[in-house]
């Protein structure tokens, strides 16, 4: 079961969920993912070793993909 969440004013919101690489859920998730990226969000996948990676295509084998806003120097 994969989950795409967006960090927002509520803490975080679930944008899409999917089960495996096939089915309607994954197609909807891919579309929602693209829309979020077009809105300027950055997608990140965390790994068990504490690292993370920016992704530009939705990895359907990931358990959790986090959408965050860009950062900037203060």
């Amino acid at each position: 079961m994969g989950r795409l969440i967006r960090l927002d004013r509520t803490g975080h919101s679930t944008v899409a969920e999917w089960n495996g690489t096939d089915g309607d859920g994954s197609a909807v998730a891919v579309e929602a993912f693209r829309e979020e990226l077009e809105r300027g969000m950055v997608a990140s996948v965390s790994y068990a070793d504490g690292t993370a990676e920016v992704v530009r295509e939705l990895p359907l084998d990931a358990e959790l993909v986090v959408l965050r806003r860009p950062i900037a120097g203060g």
């Binding site: 969440i5 960090l7 927002d8 004013r9 509520t10 803490g11 975080h12 950055v42 990140s44 965390s46 068990a48 070793d49 504490g50 690292t51 993370a52 990676e53 920016v54 992704v55 530009r56 986090v66 965050r68 806003r69 860009p70 950062i71 900037a72 120097g73 203060g74």
Partner: protein, 241 residues
């Protein structure tokens, strides 16, 4: 989840911070640039000390009765570096501190709790306890040990002797809860440590003890933990470049 060193995996895979790649006019960050900037800060601090201490000492040597004026010079020599360290330490903003988003008027307690829950899931077990007590997230990196707050981060390096204070934040915070602000920065740091250092603005670099005494009391154990992590050489693997 273990908190192993953040790596340049994202950058190596061509998926580094887009925020960093957009800053084409800025020099890429590396261990070399950090060491150079650290030396510049040390030289600047020594210069400030000299600029005020030497005239003060000369005044006393020429006429001891000018001691009050000399004292003002000495006070400046002490105060300017103190203010710089204070400014650097205050940029970080631990969760729950005076300037935290969690304490702003109209903060949503429910959202703050949800954000803290997610942030707790992102960090390791030991780091979770430290986050709860200090309001700062500890992340071991290849440059050193990082402490991430809502509006900045402290990098402890040189085996715990030097602390660099970075000003970096979510570009459009909106009404983001405090935990999410830290989660944004933590994810970006994990994605591309060097890119993170390129995006962030260095506000101070100096001895770790100078930063420690400017932090809120509850945040000091986090700096001590970062010093230990840096000293134990559990981070500090060389980056290329």
């Amino acid at each position: 989840m273990d908190a192993a060193p953040a790596t340049a995996r994202g950058a190596a895979a061509g998926g580094g911070l887009a925020e960093a790649s957009r800053l084409h006019w800025r020099e890429d960050a590396s261990e070399r640039t950090l060491r150079r900037d650290g030396r510049r800060w040390t030289a600047w601090t020594a210069w400030i000390g000299g600029v005020f201490v030497v005239p003060g000492a000369l005044l006393i040597a020429i006429e001891p009765l000018t001691f009050p004026a000399a004292a003002i010079c000495f006070a400046h020599a002490w105060a300017v570096p103190w203010i710089q360290a204070r400014r650097g330490a205050r940029q970080v903003v631990p969760i729950g501190s005076e300037r935290s988003a969690a304490r702003r008027a109209g903060a949503d307690g429910g959202a703050e709790g949800v954000a803290l829950g997610l942030l707790g899931d992102l960090v390791g077990h030991a780091e979770r306890d430290l986050l709860r007590t200090s309001g700062l997230a500890l992340q071991r990196g290849e440059l050193g040990a990082w402490l991430v707050g809502e509006q900045g981060a402290i990098l402890v390096r040189s085996r715990g002797r030097r602390a660099d204070c970075w000003c970096v934040r979510v570009a459009e915070t909106g009404e983001l809860p405090a935990g999410d602000r830290v989660a944004h920065l933590l994810l970006a740091l994990r994605e591309d440590e060097l890119g993170f250092a390129k995006v962030a603005n260095l506000g101070f670099s100096g001895a770790t003890w100078r930063v420690r005494r400017q932090l809120p009391g509850r945040a000091r154990p986090a700096l001590d933990a970062a010093r230990r992590a840096a000293r134990e050489n559990r981070c500090g693997v060389n980056h290329s470049g």
